[in-house]
Amino acid sequence: MDYSQFLVMSQELGLIAVFLLVFLFDTFAPRKALSATAPVVCVLFALFTVVNLLLPCCCCGSCTVEPQSAFGGMYVTNQALFTIKNILNVGVLVVLIQSIKWVNGPDQIMRRGEFYELLLVTLFGMYLMMSSRHFLTFIIGLESASLPLAAMVAFEKKKYESHEAAIKYLLTALFSSAILLMGVSFVYALSGSLYFADIAASSLETCPLLVVALVFVLAGVGFKLSLVPFHLWTADVYQGAPTSVTSYLSVISKGATAIAAFIIFALAFGEFYSEVWHWMLYAIIILTITIGNLFAIRQKNMKRFLAFSSISQAGYIMLGLIACSPAGLTAMMYYILVYIFSNLAAFGVIQAIENNTGKLSMDDYNGLYKTNPMLSVTMMLAMFSLAGIPPFAGFFSKFFIFRAAVEPGTTALYVLVLIALINTIVSLYYYLLVVKAMFIKPDEPVIARFRSALSERIGMWICVAGIVILGLASCFYSDIAAAVESGFNSLL
């Protein structure tokens, strides 16, 4: 019983430390100091993020984290995982900054501490999801990542939508976790172990039970990723949840799950299983991208609109998984990084407008450029980046993920990518609808000129910088690629 193994989980421990600090602050700080909760959390988390970014360089001397595993292979860490966690940290930091104004609003002010605590626990769950190499820990991670979120979704007590969203989220989440557990039980029955490494090492013939097991696991993971047909909760929940929670849900939670899905499917279910799930995923990707797009076309509520957009984005992210290669993982991580910034930029604008005017409909955005040019431009950049328009980062991430997807060179994959590409046209259409509303619609502006809060602006500036720089400066991609290269073999 070597409890020093906990030290391997430095990031998780750091996160728990932040969590505890927040918890203690919230519980014991004097009433006056409580008004500083939000900045304190942001600073703490920023500190945590920066330390994590710099840690390997300062402590280990080398810039890569040595692959390590602990708890008998139940937990691993390496440069790749370290990097993706850092990416998520940055995203969370932006979410935190963007949420300051909302958290300090009259309805939430009493519960702001809990908001941060819950958020940090879900992040911890995501960490665990990605790092665990055992289905039990994985599921605990997954549940930690989703259950507290239900509470966060229900945060706006004065809004009915928030309640409805929470109910829908929770019930679907529970159902899906039951399905997932069922699937895992079959995996256990087939391979005799719940350790990923053992599963990967076991060789099995294809039998219906295996198919059912994989489908159920995929359904459980697909629920979090909102892949079609497991996606139906997404729109309602995104729409009903507080915008900060929606943005968190749409980028961080999705990103972490995508990586976890990669690890489970590409690695744990790697060799013998892949021909089974390959075609499932193939169909699901097509469905996800297409149906997400088709629904997005007709949305008027901005949050709901972005929900469907994020569904189809999830389909694109899964293209990295179908390639099953280091390049796929790299592209996926990069895509997530870019997606975080693009989507958060969009949500940042939506949040700023919602906080200041309460408007959420796309029609309210008509003529926004006349009154709030900076917000409009930010939104436009976000839309372009999501649509994959160069020179913004989204273009690069899309290109890289397509590139990774066709790497195996089969015709089927080319067809898949072609379908995905054709769908980008549809997606461009609806992203342009937003741009059109803001820039082109001749109507009188609905939203008056206002000055957004400092925190909102900081959040948006970070996102805009990310959108512009992430693609053009190749170092981000190269770092991720190097991380994946060094860590890919030790992922299991």
Partner: protein, 173 residues
């Protein structure tokens, strides 16, 4: 487990699982539903005992039957007046549910059947692991392979979060 006695016990357990499960979801009184759930859970615990996982059976009774069902009952009492009768379900929804349930039964049942009746299973050659309390304690707090300290710690965080979440949600303000 060749004895007739164990067969009888199995029969009772299995039958009660099936019957109470069905009753749980078909009764129109919500409180009864909770009660049937309790019976189902007891039956499950019985199954665990039957398979020699006494610790698990105990946990099942303590946590599930003792904790969760009580929670249910409280919440039912909170949200509905006793004796409230669920109105008759729309047949469309029942059909939908039936189709879904039967489809699940068919697909998963077929998969299980196909696997466990045709596939030649590797016989359980391994020596069954001991399930006494000492070893369970070791398993639960060990850091080696097949030991579960990490999930144990992790789930504590989850539970804490759920408590916070529950408090936040349920608090009036």
């Amino acid at each position: 487990m060749d004895s007739v006695g164990s067969y009888i016990i199995y029969g009772i357990v299995a039958l009660s699982i099936v019957v109470f499960s069905v009753l749980t979801v078909t009764t129109r009184r919500i409180l009864r539903s909770a009660t049937y759930l309790l019976f189902t859970l007891f039956a499950t615990a019985g199954l665990y005992f039957l398979l020699d996982y006494e610790f698990l059976g105990a946990v099942q009774i303590a946590v599930y039957a003792g904790g969760i069902v009580v929670l249910f009952v409280f919440s039912i009492l909170l949200t509905s007046r006793p004796g409230d009768k669920s109105e008759k379900l729309a047949s469309r929804r029942r059909m939908l549910g039936g189709v879904a349930a039967l489809a699940t039964l068919a697909v998963v049942g077929f998969a299980i059947f196909a696997h466990f009746s045709s596939c030649q299973l590797a016989p359980a050659v391994e020596q069954a692991a001991s399930v006494d309390m000492t070893s369970i304690g070791h398993f639960l707090l060990g850091t080696e392979k097949f030991q579960y300290l990490l999930p144990f710690e992790a789930i504590s965080v989850l539970l804490l979060a759920c408590i916070i979440g529950g408090v936040v949600v349920a608090r009036r303000r």
